[in-house]
Symmetry: C2
Subunit: 333 residues, 2 copies
Amino acid sequence: MDKITLAHGAGGNASKNLINKIFKKYFSNKTLDALDDAAVLKISGLKAAFSTDSFVINPIFFNGGDIGKLSVCGTINDISMMGATPAAMSAAAIIEEGFPLKDLERIAKSMSVAAKNAGVEIVTGDTKVVKKGEADGIFINTSAIGVIKNGVNLSGKNAKSGDKIIVSGNIAEHGISIMLSRDNFGFKNNIKSDCACLNGLTGGILKVCPNVHVLRDPTRGGVAATLNEIAESSNVGIIIDAKSVPVAKEVAAICRVLGFDPLYIANEGKLLSIQSAADTVKVLNACQKNKLGKNAKVIAEVVNSPKGVWVKTASGALRKVLNSDMEQLPRIC
Amino acid sequence: MDKITLAHGAGGNASKNLINKIFKKYFSNKTLDALDDAAVLKISGLKAAFSTDSFVINPIFFNGGDIGKLSVCGTINDISMMGATPAAMSAAAIIEEGFPLKDLERIAKSMSVAAKNAGVEIVTGDTKVVKKGEADGIFINTSAIGVIKNGVNLSGKNAKSGDKIIVSGNIAEHGISIMLSRDNFGFKNNIKSDCACLNGLTGGILKVCPNVHVLRDPTRGGVAATLNEIAESSNVGIIIDAKSVPVAKEVAAICRVLGFDPLYIANEGKLLSIQSAADTVKVLNACQKNKLGKNAKVIAEVVNSPKGVWVKTASGALRKVLNSDMEQLPRIC
């Protein structure tokens, strides 16, 4: 391969290869190489999380949100998964000539509401305009800084044999909602993206259990890609109990018809929490107290072997959950 | 106007209107409203600068640099202009399907060299891929955080009557170089973009004179747009001495032929320093000691009236330097 393909942006194996072969090769440093959801670094003695994300979602307005809300929540979620309390945020737009000002205003308003709800201010920004045909509507980048309390030490490397894995609610809603908004395949449906800022939820979890091992939001590539990353970083196995994974009936039905596995579909308002078996009930309770975590379930456990990610089916057999090579849905975020 | 135009991205009046009518309306907060090159904020007691910029320059490889070097230096310069020492940087790429991997590698290498030279690490990143035709090659966003020492208090609001304005070297080289790389108009030329990271230069200035009033890098819209912003923020007048503005002969000649005023042309490795008359010689010396400031000159003075920006011509007459409404060169950065 000598050219960029859509798979390079899909969060699976091709993305991983691109990171290893180009970005890690040139940018390698201790902070970056952790490859967690956000960088964790010391700035003049202050423990901080720092993350960036560009959003190219299509369509820009969808059931449950828009590119503005997503661009705020996506990045707030990345620093929240490192246990940080958001301190400040940047926003930068690349806009195609001819883009309607009323749509820009609607997006700005949505960003402002999402930021206010998350308790963070957008303190700096940038706007670039390119000619008609040189971009598709609007792309938004956000970056965020947050402060991490002493004693909180989250990382994809920290999963341990015996740990339990909680998902904070029904999966696959963002990806399926976006897909149906592009082409509804003749389905009438009420599926909404789960797009939401999770810093309140992570704050609640860390309050009752500051020594959670891993928090992650399963976005591109879904739960499958995220758990594969964690299994590799922590050098463990993860066994998912198929029947315990919460999926709304309508989403499950559409996945069945279209041949998608919900485990591979993107979420934008869910998290995975990995903690010791002993801490699991209190974390589950903390999730369920928050409206964004009310359908939280224990879905998996961490084992020493077999390595990798597996689903235990109803019959008790183990099926390997591969890190997808496929771009199921481009421009999902 | 109900649609985005190229002028909205050009750094002049249309950009200002967009910021006031949409972004300030929805995002207004004390930190953002300062509208300096970077936000200055307290994070758990630490005084920090935070800035973001997206780079959409065309062509991506040009004489004197490329989109990678520019994306590192542009954002490092923004926080440096607030007096910050860079602490960490993010990088996010939006790439068009089919983009050559060897070009991506060349850009990553260039970013890595620029970051190393500036003494900053790229600690977090993101890659999105869009379909062929949905973007033009590659767009890069960078954000940076830096730490500001106590006693340093830079802002576009701080210019005072009697202050002198230094420019750190020959102007208009970035803009003219990019224009000629797109269409050389039959000229043979050796004009290089001045693209450079200025944190070494600002560090040198602040070492000898921590109470400099304003530092700014005159990028989009050139010296004219930057001085207009400062004159407005500080509610002062600025009188430029036309004959003292350093412009390389070849750049001046091309500007004459094409009818461009170098004051309006973008720079990517120059700064304007505004300080009291008494401090001006030591700041000038500090600039000239650094290879990026060796041709620094005093080019203007700050007055109480007339307000706005003016050029004193050879005959002694004052000509108003308007904030341009025109997009002279789209995708200049």
